[in-house]
């Protein structure tokens, strides 16, 4: 979604070059999306197939490796490359769904607080204060533990913990925007408060929001990995990067690549979303662009 915004942006103002970070980040995110969608086509093996005769194989290029298993196998003989590919699906679902929901809920509360002020602002601000006195990791683990393992509980945990990121930024930005002349002009022109809010204020709050959404997608991937690592994410039948890290940590001396590979996937993914977000901030902000 973020990419189409950038593309449309570039079409309207052909003189402006795309930020290199948008290109780099967008490429990483696009590869991630394609991998997730095409997982059954590109994975060389079924990620759940066990083969105890070829367990703990090292990557194919090292001594004792098997060409059939490019990144080797785990202690149950499951193909590491295929598991990494299939795990990208969970990462993508969590990134898209959890970040979008957190963004929607947080932004609406932030908009309401910043635009209507008064009691609404008091309630939202106090909620944010309380939320800020938890370590976020602890709160998401509490939530995931309370709701029980599963993809939806991971998503719920991320949304409930991270809505404040959006609420804080959108509230501050809305407070700023509503002071500006164009809002006063719109009111004088006879627009209803709702029309002022959605037709005038919202479009101006969007640029920082797009950046935050992209960064949040990276955070969501991380939180899923964290929850998998402590055994609170989706069931162990579904491969996830965090789950693979937890398994790799157990047998670190025998099969260190099982720990290194999913860590690499997570770092590249988070980097991709961060680059995209940072690049979009500069591309969408007319002041910084000049």
């Amino acid at each position: 979604m973020a990419e189409t915004t950038a593309a449309a942006d570039a079409r309207r103002r052909p003189a402006i070059q795309l930020d290199p970070r948008v290109i780099a980040g967008g490429t990483i995110v696009a590869i991630l999306l394609l991998t997730a969608i095409a997982a059954p086509l590109i994975a060389p093996h079924n990620p759940l197939d066990q083969d105890l005769l070829s367990a703990q194989l090292p990557p194919s290029w090292s001594a004792g490796g098997d060409a059939a298993h490019f990144f080797g196998t785990d202690s149950l003989g499951r193909d590491t490359l295929s598991r990494l590919i299939y795990a990208s699906r969970i990462a993508v679902i969590v990134a898209l769904v959890a970040a979008t929901l957190a963004c929607a809920i947080g932004s609406l509360l932030g908009l309401a607080a910043g635009f209507f002020r008064g009691a609404v602002d008091q309630v939202v601000s106090r909620l944010i204060d309380i939320w800020m006195s938890f370590p976020p990791v602890l709160l998401s683990i509490v939530l995931a533990a309370a709701v029980g393992a599963g993809l939806s509980s991971v998503i719920l945990a991320i949304v409930v913990v991270d809505w404040t990121r959006f609420a804080r930024v959108v509230r501050a930005e809305t407070l700023l925007q509503r002071q500006l002349d164009y809002v006063a002009a719109a009111k004088v022109a006879g627009l209803t408060p709702m029309a002022v809010l959605f037709k005038e204020v919202v479009p101006n709050v969007l640029p920082p929001l797009v950046t935050l959404l992209s960064v949040e997608m990276g955070i969501a991937v991380l939180v899923e990995a964290i929850l998998s690592f402590v055994g609170l994410s989706v069931s162990t039948d579904t491969p996830t990067w965090g789950g693979m890290i937890a398994e790799g940590r157990q047998l670190i001396n025998q099969t260190p690549w099982l720990l290194a590979l999913p860590i690499g996937c997570i770092i590249v993914t988070v980097l991709g979303f961060n680059l995209l977000g940072d690049g979009l901030r500069t591309s969408l902000d007319p002041v910084q662009r000049r």
């Binding site: 309370a146 690592f229 402590v230």
Partner: protein
């Protein structure tokens, strides 16, 4: 911050803690799942289960449960851990020193790296050392503490095994301590081999926690140093013939510190939150690791006590940072 402001901040502490307690309580009680399910033996009758519920007060309505808990908590009684069958406060106090030592060492490392890097970057502006510093900041920020911990385990525990990757102390070194503050105690009693072993266990988790914070310290301090160097007093000092190095350290650094401490203070709370996972990864026996166990076992009284402990740490820390900033910047005392 004058005395009035400190008092106002202190008055806000109880309501915030109350809010935290309510949120945790509601989250843990309204969701499905039975906390005593872990304790039930296969042959338990419904009467046995009901008796267990009654013993932990789980048969009362949720509002009543909360006030029973709150009344006891105010007098320092946080209940009995369901899985460990021990006093929650005692369990937490037994583990807290380990976490505090980890946080302290990590903070010292973060600021040491951050100050060094920032001074280096500011001194060699627009020359190659500055690019190294900027690269360090970018990489340290992109990887969170949890992944740094795993990477360190791979690097220094497996590929180049020079450091221990789990636990707080080697059992062979000796475990006869009078307090929970092993590092401090070993330093005070001059048992250097013990100190050495503790530090060898501490360095990797502390580095994992410190790196992201050190990157933020570097970035903020380097920017403020650059600004401070352009101010009149710095220019005057330069024109009076002081070297750049002296002006940076004696004039610009003290003035740049305030913004750094303010921003880094907020980030320090993230460092404390990070202990949950980093302790888990390094099997370090602190309250973070205990919290993960408590969550997995749905040990409600223990979770409640631990979350409140973290919230209290956050609040105390923020208060200390505010006091420290007003001490650094005398103008704020008369504000």
């Amino acid at each position: 911050m004058g005395n009035g402001a400190v008092l106002r901040r202190l008055l806000l502490v109880p309501p915030t803690l109350f809010g935290v307690a309510v949120v945790v309580f509601v989250l843990l009680r309204v969701v499905p799942g039975d906390p005593v399910s872990m304790m039930i033996s296969p042959g338990a009758t419904p009467a046995d289960i009901a008796a267990l519920h009654a013993r932990y007060g789980l048969d009362l309505p949720i509002g009543e449960q909360f006030f029973v808990w709150l009344k006891a908590a105010v007098s320092g009684d946080f209940g009995i851990s369901i899985t460990r069958r021990q006093n929650v406060l005692g369990l937490i106090l037994g583990r807290l020193p380990a976490t505090l030592e980890l946080v302290l060492v990590a903070t010292v490392i973060a600021f040491a790296i951050g100050w060094g890097m920032a001074l280096l970057g500011a001194y060699f502006r627009r020359r190659s050392p500055e690019w190294v510093v900027d690269g360090f900041v970018a990489i340290s920020l992109a990887v969170p503490d949890f992944l740094w911990g795993l990477l360190f385990i791979l690097l220094f525990g497996v590929l180049w095994p020079v450091l221990p990757i789990s636990g707080r102390i080697d059992p062979r070194v000796g475990v006869d301590f009078h307090t929970g503050f092993f590092l401090l105690e070993s330093l005070l009693t001059g048992r250097w081999t013990v100190t050495g072993d503790l530090l060898r266990h501490l360095i990797l988790p502390a580095m994992a926690l410190a790196l992201p914070l050190s990157a933020i310290v570097t970035r903020v301090l380097k920017a403020s140093l650059g600004e401070a160097e352009l101010q009149d007093y710095a220019q005057v000092a330069r024109s009076r013939g002081f070297t750049r190095r002296r002006v940076l350290i004696r004039e610009a650094l003290p003035n740049a510190l305030i913004s750094t401490v303010t921003l880094a203070g907020v980030q320090l709370t993230f460092l404390i939150g990070g202990t949950v996972l980093v302790e888990r990864i390094f099997s370090y026996e602190g309250i973070g690791n205990m919290a993960v166990d408590a969550m997995i076992n749905r040990d409600l009284p223990l979770i409640q006590g631990l979350v409140l402990t973290f919230a209290i740490l956050f609040i105390i820390l923020n208060l200390l940072i505010d006091l420290f900033i007003s001490w650094l910047d005398p103008r704020l005392q008369h504000g």
